[in-house]
């Protein structure tokens, strides 16, 4: 069976930045326990080592730049943008670079984002981001299905 990691990241007290962790908490109950689900405030280098042991990695984050609530999904690869490494927290692309450079292995990796509306201190998602939650969960579950990682398929492998 393929090994998969889901990481929802963002600050849980910065309004819509909590989108990633919120999705991860809900997915934890919806996916098979063999799929590793993590939450964190930001991506740090140690995650590269965990990624190197995976076949599929799914990042879930919020974003800026579009209308609030807009969902974006893309497959990601390594990045040559050196400036991505200049803060405590890394981007998914730079983690892919760490993973490939240090461990010689690259999982298939995807990022799901939703555009946030408010990042002020708050423990609530705004309405447009809240509305995106079920749609992103559905898309993530569909992606897992495509990789033979639906709950039923994982159970049949067990």
């Amino acid at each position: 069976m393929k090994r998969a990691l889901i990481i929802g990241f963002g600050s849980e007290i910065r309004g819509d930045d909590a989108f990633g962790p919120q999705i991860a908490y809900q997915l934890e109950d919806l996916v098979h326990p063999a799929i590793q689900v993590e939450t964190c405030q930001g991506l740090t280098p140690d995650i590269a080592l965990t990624m190197s042991e995976m076949d599929l990695v799914i990042f879930i984050d919020c974003a800026v730049g579009h209308e609030p609530g807009v969902i974006n999904h893309k497959e990601i690869h390594t990045s040559d943008d050196k400036s991505l490494s200049m803060v405590h927290f890394l981007s998914p692309e730079s983690l892919m670079t760490w993973c490939g450079s240090l461990y010689g292995k690259l999982p298939e990796a995807h990022v799901f984002t939703v555009t946030g509306k408010c990042y002020e201190i708050s423990d609530n998602l705004t309405e447009p981001v809240q509305q995106a939650v079920p749609r992103v969960i559905e898309q993530v579950l569909n992606l897992l299905d495509e990789h033979g990682l639906s709950k039923q398929e994982v159970l049949s492998h067990a």
């Binding site: 740090t44 280098p45 080592l49 050196k82």
Partner: protein, 476 residues
Amino acid sequence: MSRTIEIDPVTRIEGHARITIKLDDGGNVDDALFHVTQFRGFEKFCEGRPFPEMPSLTARTCGICPVSHLMASSKACDKIMAVDIPPVAKKLRRIMNFAQLTQSHALSFFHLSSPDMLLGWDCDPAKRNVFGVIVEFPDLAKMGIRLRQIGQSIIAILGNKRVHPAWMVPGGVNAPLTEEKRSQILPMAEEALELALKTFEWYKGQTSNFAEEIEHFANFPSMYMGLVTEDGELEHYDGFLRVIDHAGKILHDKVPTDNYKDIVGEAVEDFSYMKFPYYKPMGYPQGMYRVGPLARLNVCDKCGTPKADAALAEFRALQNNSGPVTSSFHYHYARLIEIIFALEKMLELLRHDDILSDHVRARARGNRSRGIGIAEAPRGTLIHDYEVDEHCQMTKANLIIATGHNNLAMNAGVKQVAQHWIKDGKIEEHMLNRVEAVIRCYDPCLSCATHAMGKMPLHIQLTDASGKVIDEMTRG
């Protein structure tokens, strides 16, 4: 014409900051200011919350050292409850804190500062980053990752969660340590100790390459503050505050943490949102002190574990055993010693007879209107000071974070570096690298609740005395 150089933002630190270097008419550095331009309203956000929520709430201020906030906050809540928590709970809290210290120091040393040290401040900026380290020193990069992963894994095993574990609670911890979990943690801690010792041995051989930086990276007399045990040993969880002067003379000792306001005052400046704590008996700004790994090793009499004490003797030899180690460059050295200490102590605690006891939590309602919790975070002394009303709801919270204590010293450090490396108004890349690097020695965490956008280009502005931008450059 006098000029102002601005470096905005500072890279590889948390939050948003800017450095302004003011040149005099002769092109020499007149002054340097480290601005923190982001305002946090977190303390206000806490008002009205039931106090037992505070540990998990305040832990969310930081993605790197949430355990420190969890711990200081839990201790403040213990005081409000007026309970003495079970001894095993204290040990378990300490173990989690040591795991966090390990992962946080590893991140600072390997990820943030190693590009400067390994590749050099004069290296092409396109290569002087962690990717350069990965290419040139892959084994070292892997060691750093593994150390951090072990620290994070131990936190996850204890708290069932990597980043914001809710295991540490007012009154103790919410579940005892099982034999199964202890068996998982022990070999990881042993492996991490080996890695830490190996890194320390390697690093000692590197320090001679940094003589000029050691001499001029915030290398000045100051006071130092940190927790120590009753016997004067290195302490991160409990104990008493100790303050020493530039020569190592103890100014204040065995200060109960509840009395921190006797020695710590807070000043404000209009150029920064970050407060400027100072040693109260000396006044502001003369009362500049440093906290964190360098300060902790300077204030303690000894570490209290064999390998860390051996390393401490070498640390003190850096200053010819003639007083506190004064160069902030040696924060890096001190971090490695603290990792060794944390892992030795962790192993000692895990092997303690009663560590699997299930008496790990005291229960009570709020019995006092105020609680102060102080612990040593990776970056220094962390203070949580709470007040509650008769309904046990928060009416006031004051958080003095570790980075804040170092604010005066960081400003003085930037000025010293700028004065040494900027001559005749000539601005070069290597000088700017060093100005940033002196800040990174303190590993500041300015606003951990900030959403990291993943990209923080370096923006440098040169303005004249009227504030008009006459030159600017963006890097990254």
